[in-house]
C-alpha cells in the first residue's frame, strides 16, 4: 500500500469540503471494510482518504420520526441494525438480513453508508431497501437532496452520488399494515459469503390477494434492479404458490445474470427463479 493523506474531519460540512469532485483518488472512508479490500487488491490507490470516524450526531442514530418513518444514520454499523429493537420492530427484514450478512467482525465495523455507497452489486441490503421503498439523503456543497433507493444504483460499482456528496441517512417509510417484506440470500460458496443471488420482496396483500409487490434482485446482476415483469405478473393475483411460480418465471426471463466464480449465467437465472418464489412465500407469510 502506498502512503496517502488521511483526514479526520469533525463535522459533515468539513468532510464535504475535503472531498474533490474531480479527483477519483480522493474518497470518504467509513468502516473501511470495502475500501481496504480494493486498496489491498491494488484496485484503488487513494491520494487522500476522508475518514468519517469522528462525525457524530444523527449520522450514528437510529430513530423513528413522527410519521413512523425509520431513519438510519449513514455511520450506523451493520451490527447495530442487526440488534436495534427499533429496526426489529419497524423493518424486521432488515435485522434479519444483517444476521447473515458477512460475519460479526465485519458487521461491527462496516457502516450502512459504506454498504450502500459502495455500489457493489453483491451487497445484501440494497435490494431490500429498494423493496421497502427507502430513500437516501445525500449532502453536498450545494445542500442536500433525496434519492430513491431504486435510483441510487446506476451501474457496476456506480451510484447516483456525486464525488463530493456524502450519504447522511437512509429512511425507510412507515410500513402500511397490510404490507410485509422479506429478503432471501443464496450463497454458493461458504455460508457467510457474499450472495450469489439475493432477492427482496415487499408485498401488500388483502384477503389472499396481492395488491402489489416490489421485487428486487442483486448479486446475480450488474446492479440491484427491480423485477418489473415479475411484479406485474403477481399484481392482483392470489397468494397461492401457482401465481408465485408465474412471477418467478417472469423474473427468470427478465434478468441478465453475470457469470462469475459463484455461478454461471444459466445457473444464476435458475436461482433467481427459485429465490423470487421463496422471497414471495416468505414475504406473504411474515
Amino acid at each position: 500500500m502506498i502512503p496517502f493523506d488521511l483526514q479526520e474531519p469533525a463535522s459533515l460540512a468539513e468532510a464535504i469540503a475535503l472531498l474533490d469532485p474531480d479527483d477519483p483518488s480522493v474518497r470518504p472512508v467509513a468502516g473501511g471494510t470495502a475500501l481496504m479490500l480494493m486498496m489491498k487488491a491494488g484496485l484503488f490507490q487513494p491520494t487522500r482518504l476522508i475518514s468519517l470516524r469522528r462525525l457524530e450526531g444523527d449520522l450514528r442514530r437510529v430513530h423513528v420520526d413522527e410519521h413512523g418513518d425509520l431513519h438510519l444514520g449513514a455511520l450506523v454499523p451493520l451490527s447495530k441494525l442487526e440488534l436495534s429493537p427499533l429496526v426489529a420492530e419497524h423493518a424486521p427484514a432488515v435485522s434479519e438480513t444483517c444476521r447473515t450478512l458477512s460475519n460479526v467482525r465485519v458487521r461491527n465495523v462496516a457502516t450502512l453508508g459504506g454498504h450502500v455507497a459502495h455500489g457493489d452489486p453483491h451487497m445484501d441490503l440494497p435490494p431490500l431497501l429498494i423493496a421497502l421503498g427507502a430513500r437516501a439523503r445525500a449532502v453536498g456543497p450545494r445542500g442536500e437532496r433525496w434519492i430513491d433507493a431504486a435510483d441510487l444504483f446506476v451501474g457496476y460499482y456506480q451510484t447516483a452520488l456525486e464525488r463530493d456528496e456524502l450519504l447522511a441517512e437512509i429512511v425507510i417509510p412507515a410500513p402500511s399494515p397490510d404490507s410485509s417484506a422479506a429478503y432471501v440470500k443464496f450463497t454458493a460458496l461458504s455460508a457467510d459469503d457474499w450472495p450469489a443471488v439475493g432477492v427482496a420482496a415487499a408485498v401488500r396483500r388483502r384477503e389472499g390477494v396481492i395488491l402489489d409487490a416490489v421485487l428486487a434482485v442483486s448479486a446475480a446482476t450488474e446492479k440491484p434492479i427491480r423485477l418489473a415483469a415479475a411484479e406485474a405478473a403477481i399484481r392482483g393475483k392470489s397468494t397461492s404458490s401457482g401465481s408465485f411460480d408465474e412471477a418467478a418465471e417472469a423474473a427468470a426471463h427478465e434478468v441478465e445474470p453475470l457469470a462469475d466464480i459463484r455461478g454461471s449465467t444459466a445457473y444464476k437465472r435458475e436461482m433467481v427463479r427459485v429465490h423470487v418464489r421463496r422471497a414471495l412465500i416468505k414475504a406473504s407469510h411474515s
Binding site: K40, N103, F186, A188, A191, D193, I261, Y267, E270, V274
Partner: protein, 791 residues
C-alpha cells in the same frame, strides 16, 4: 554416548503406571498465544532490515525479453532492485527444490506460471518496496502453455522444462536425470500379481474417472522469511518453516558453503499445513541479504500465497473387477498429479501416496501408475494428507458406486474387502498395528448404520454416506532430540519439530515428563534452531509424534540412566531399581532425593547438566523399480474413516452437512484432547476442500486468489454435529504406543459427503468441489433436462 536406534524401538510394555500419557493437559503455549506474547517470525524486525517486495510474472509461459527496473530503482527510498540475472552473478546455478533442482531463485530466461517471482524491490520502507515493485516492467515473448495434468503428460510440443533435473537426495529419482521432451517429472509404477487375470476372474468390471481441483493452504500467518548476514561467510535465517534442517542443507548447497555456516531458526507458526515445507522464500532472502549486506525480510500477503504453493489438482482413473458375491479381484489406477511449474515435493507425493491408490482393501491383483506432471500453474506441494485425500476421493467414491451397483450395503462391502492386520498391502508390506476393522465397527455404531434414517421431505432430501482411507507414514526419515536437565532439576527438550498449532511442544513435553517423572507443564521445549537443536527431517506427514516422540523418549531415557547412575550413589541403591516421580528419584528403601539434589550431589552446587540424546530412524526398504514392491514400505499406517449426513436442497443443489463423524486409528493417544482437535480440524479443513474451495484459473491466472473469493468454511458451515472418535489401538513401535494424527481427519471426508449426496438424491459427483451449481447440474442431468448454457 548417544542412543541410536536403527530398528524400531521396543515399546515399554512393562513400564510402571504412566501418569502423563493419555492426559489431555492444556497446551504449553496457550497463555502466550492468547495474550499475544507468542513469538512469530512475522513480527520480527532487525536493525537495518530491508523489506523485499516481489514483482511477479503476468504470463503463464514466456521467454523473458526485457525486465525494466529503471523507474523502480529511481524511486526515492529504494535500496536495490534484483533480478534473476543478478542472482546468477552470485550463484552460477541458482536452482533449488527438494526433489528436483528446477526452481530458480528468481526467473531466469523463462517464466513458467502467472505469479512466478521475476524481480524483488528492496527498501527500508515496505510501502516503498511495494510501490517500486509496481514500477517494474517486463516484456515476455509468449510461449504456448499447458494447464491440464492429463494433457500436459501427453504433450508432444509444449514442455515446461527443457530437461529434468532431479536432486541427488532421492536415489529413486536418479534415472530421470537429463530426460527431455516430457512434462512427466516422475512415473511411479506398482504391479502386484496380474490385474488382467484379476479382471478375467471378475463378474463385473467398473471404471470411473474422478477429479480434484487446485486448492490452497491459506495459513493464517502467510509465509515469511528473514535472512541476516553475519559477515560475508555466515548467515542466519529466521523463517516460518516446517523444515529448518532442510532449509539449512539446501541454502548451504546453493551457496557452496558447509552447513555449519547457515543457521536456521523458527518460532511458532501461524499454521503450516505443508505450505511452509522444504524451501519457499529462504533461498531468495538468503541471496538478497548476501547481495545487499543487510538483513532482508519478505512476508507474503495472503494473496501471494496462492502464487507460491498449492495442493495438486488430480485426475484419477480407476478400474475394478469384482465378483457377484462382492469380492474385489483386481484394481487398476492411473493418477495424474498437476504439479504446476516446479516439482517441489510433488514427485514424492506421487510415489509415497501413489502406492496406496488401491485403497485399504485386500486385493490380489493391483496395477498402479502415478504421474507427477509439470504444467504452467503455480507449484503444488504437500497439503495435509500428502495426496491421500485426492486418492481417497477417487477410490472411495468408486467403491461406493460398485457397492450400489451390486446392491450390497456399502459398509458391508467394505468390511468384506478390508485390508486386515497381518495381510499384505499392494506393495507387499505386511500390515501391522492397523485397526481397519475396529475403525469400520466404530463408524458403523457412530453412524447408527442400518437403522432407519430420516430421508427428508419436499425440496430437502437427506442422505448418509461413509468412506475410509489410509496412509503410510513417509519413509525413510530421521529425528534427533536432546533432553537437558539443568542444575536446579528443570528440564528442556531440544527438538526440531515445529509447533505450528498442532500441539507438538505439549506432546514432546509429556513424553519427556513421563520418562523423567516431571510435570509436563514445567518442561520447556526449545524451538528449532539448527545451531542448537539436532537434525529433524521436517514437521510433515504426521511423522513427529512417532519419530520425534521416539527420539525424545530415547533422549529422556538416556538422561534418566545418567541420573540414576548418580542417584544410585547418593541413595546407596542399585541404579536399575530406582524410579522417578514428582521431580524426584526414589529407591526401594523409600529414600528419595529431588532431581535437583541428585544433580547437586555430583556437581556440589547448583551447576552442570545431565544431557541425554536420542536419534530415531526406522527401518525401510525402498520399493523396487518397476513393480514398486517392498517388504518394509513404512514405519506405521494411519487409518481414518468418515461418516456424513447431509441435506440437499434439490431446487438449488446446495448441500448442507449436518453431521460429520471422524473415526481414527491413532495408536495410543498421548494427549486425547489434542488428538480430537487435530481430527476435527483436519476434517473441517477438508470440508472446505469438499464444499467450496477451488482455485479457479483463467489462462493460468488465478482469478480468486484472496479470501474474499476463495471461500474457506465459516462458523455457519460447520456441521451441527462434528465428532471425532478415537479407536483405541497400539502402535507397538511408537512412543508409548502412539502414531501420528495430523492428517488422519482429512482422509475420507470428501467421498463420505459425496456418497451421502448420492444416497440423498441419486446423483454422483465426480469432480470436487460439491458446489451448488455442480450438484444442481447433476440433478438436472439425471432428470434428462440438462441445464443449457446458451440462453
Amino acid at each position: 554416548m548417544s542412543t541410536h536406534v536403527d530398528a524400531p524401538a521396543p515399546v515399554e510394555r512393562k513400564a510402571p503406571t504412566t501418569t502423563q500419557i493419555g492426559r489431555s493437559i492444556p497446551r504449553l503455549e496457550s497463555r502466550a498465544k492468547v495474550t499475544g506474547e507468542a513469538e512469530y517470525i512475522h513480527n520480527l524486525r532487525l536493525p537495518g532490515m530491508l523489506y523485499g517486495k516481489i514483482f511477479r510474472s503476468t504470463v503463464p509461459h514466456g521467454r523473458i525479453v526485457r525486465i525494466d527496473t529503471r523507474a523502480a530503482k529511481e524511486l526515492p527510498g529504494v535500496f536495490a532492485v534484483i533480478t534473476g540475472e543478478d542472482v546468477r552473478a552470485l550463484i552460477p546455478d541458482p536452482y533449488y527444490g527438494p526433489a528436483f533442482h528446477d526452481q530458480p531463485v528468481l526467473a531466469i530466461d523463462k517464466v513458467r506460471y502467472v505469479g512466478e517471482p521475476v524481480a524483488v524491490a528492496l527498501s527500508e520502507d515496505p510501502h516503498i518496496a511495494e510501490h517500486a515493485a509496481n514500477l517494474i516492467e517486463a516484456e515476455y515473448e509468449d510461449l504456448p502453455a499447458v494447464f491440464d495434468e492429463v494433457e500436459a503428460a501427453a504433450a508432444t510440443q509444449v514442455f515446461v522444462h527443457d530437461a529434468l533435473r532431479p536432486a541427488g537426495m532421492f536415489p529413486d529419482l536418479k534415472h530421470l536425470h537429463g530426460r527431455t521432451k516430457t512434462n512427466v517429472a516422475l512415473d511411479f509404477t506398482l504391479r502386484r500379481n496380474d490385474v488382467e487375470q484379476g479382471f478375467a476372474q471378475a463378474d463385473y468390471v467398473f471404471e470411473h474417472v474422478f477429479r480434484t481441483p487446485t486448492v490452497a493452504h491459506t495459513a493464517l500467518e502467510p509465509i515469511v522469511s528473514v535472512a541476516e548476514p553475519r559477515g560475508p561467510q555466515a548467515l542466519t535465517i529466521h523463517t516460518s518453516s516446517q523444515s529448518p534442517s532442510f532449509v539449512r542443507s539446501e541454502v548451504a548447497r546453493l551457496l557452496g558453503w558447509p552447513e555449519n555456516r547457515v543457521r536456521v531458526r523458527t518460532a511458532f507458526l501461524g499454521g503450516g499445513f505443508g505450505a511452509k515445507l522444504y524451501i519457499k522464500l529462504e533461498a531468495m532472502v538468503a541471496v538478497l541479504a548476501l547481495m545487499v549486506k543487510r538483513p532482508v525480510k519478505i512476508s507474503l500477503t495472503m494473496e501471494e500465497q496462492f502464487y507460491t504453493i498449492t495442493k495438486h489438482a488430480t485426475t484419477v482413473h480407476l478400474k475394478t473387477g469384482v465378483t457377484k458375491a462382492g469380492k474385489i479381484t483386481a484394481r487398476q489406477c492411473e493418477a495424474w498429479w498437476n504439479g504446476g511449474a516446479y516439482a517441489d515435493i510433488g514427485p514424492r507425493v506421487t510415489q509415497k501416496s501413489g502406492f496406496t491408490a488401491a485403497g485399504p482393501y485386500d486385493i490380489e491383483n493391483v496395477a498402479l501408475n502415478s504421474y507427477a506432471v509439470y504444467t504452467n500453474l503455480p507449484p503444488a506441494g504437500a497439503l495435509r494428507g500428502f495426496g491421500i485425500p485426492q486418492l481417497v476421493w477417487a477410490y472411495e467414491s468408486h467403491t461406493d458406486l460398485i457397492a450400489r451397483e451390486l446392491e450390497i450395503d456399502p459398509l458391508e462391502f467394505r468390511r468384506a474387502n478390508i485390508l486386515r492386520d497381518g495381510r499384505p498391502q499392494a506393495t507387499g508390506t505386511i500390515m501391522h498395528d492397523i485397526a481397519t476393522v475396529e475403525v469400520l465397527d466404530a463408524l458403523s455404531s457412530a453412524m447408527r448404520w442400518g437403522e432407519s434414517f430420516d430421508r427428508g421431505k419436499g425440496s430437502i432430501r437427506r442422505g448418509h454416506g461413509i468412506a475410509i482411507g489410509f496412509k503410510a507414514c513417509i519413509a525413510p526419515t530421521t529425528s534427533g532430540a536432546i533432553v537437558n536437565l539443568y542444575g536446579d532439576g528443570s528440564c528442556a527438550v531440544y527438538c526440531g519439530t515445529v509447533d505450528m498449532g498442532q500441539g507438538s511442544d505439549t506432546v514432546m513435553a509429556q513424553i519427556a515428563a513421563e520418562v523423567l517423572g516431571l510435570d509436563p507443564q514445567s518442561v520447556s521445549v526449545i524451538h528449532p534452531d539448527t545451531d542448537v537443536t539436532p537434525y529433524d527431517m521436517a514437521t510433515l506427514g504426521s511423522r513427529s509424534t512417532f519419530h520425534m516422540g521416539n527420539a525424545v523418549r530415547l533422549a529422556a531415557l538416556e538422561a534418566r540412566e545418567k541420573l540414576f547412575a548418580i542417584a544410585g550413589k547418593a541413595l546407596e541403591a542399585d541404579p536399575s531399581l530406582l524410579t522417578v516421580a514428582d521431580n524426584g528419584v526414589s529407591a526401594p528403601s523409600g529414600r528419595r532425593l529431588s532431581i535437583a539434589d541428585v544433580i547437586k550431589s555430583t556437581f556440589l552446587m547448583q551447576a552442570g547438566n545431565i544431557i541425554g540424546t536420542g536419534s530415531f530412524r526406522p527401518t525401510y526398504t525402498s520399493p523396487s523399480q518397476g513393480d514398486g514392491q517392498s517388504d518394509d514400505i513404512t514405519p506405521f499406517w494411519m487409518v481414518g474413516a468418515v461418516g456424513a449426513e447431509v441435506e440437499v436442497d434439490t431446487e438449488t443443489g446446495r448441500v448442507r452437512v449436518t453431521r460429520l463423524v471422524n473415526v481414527a486409528d491413532v495408536g495410543t493417544p498421548i494427549n486425547p484432547g489434542i488428538v480430537t482437535r487435530q481430527l476435527n480440524g483436519g476434517a473441517l479443513m477438508q470440508l472446505g476442500f469438499t464444499m467450496s474451495e477451488a482455485v479457479r484459473f483463467d489462462n493460468g491466472q488465478a482469478v480468486n486468489a484472496s479470501l474474499a473469493d476463495y471461500k474457506i468454511p465459516g462458523i455457519l458451515d460447520i456441521p451441527d454435529q462434528t465428532l471425532a472418535k478415537i479407536v483405541a489401538g497400539c502402535q507397538s513401535t511408537g512412543p508409548f504406543g502412539a502414531k501420528g494424527v495430523g492428517e488422519t481427519g482429512t482422509f475420507a471426508v470428501s467421498p463420505a459427503i459425496a456418497n451421502a449426496v448420492h444416497d440423498a438424491v441419486g446423483v454422483r459427483i465426480f469432480d470436487l468441489p460439491l458446489t451448488p451449481e455442480t450438484v444442481y447440474r447433476a440433478l438436472r442431468a439425471a432428470q434428462h433436462n440438462p441445464l443449457e448454457d446458451q440462453q
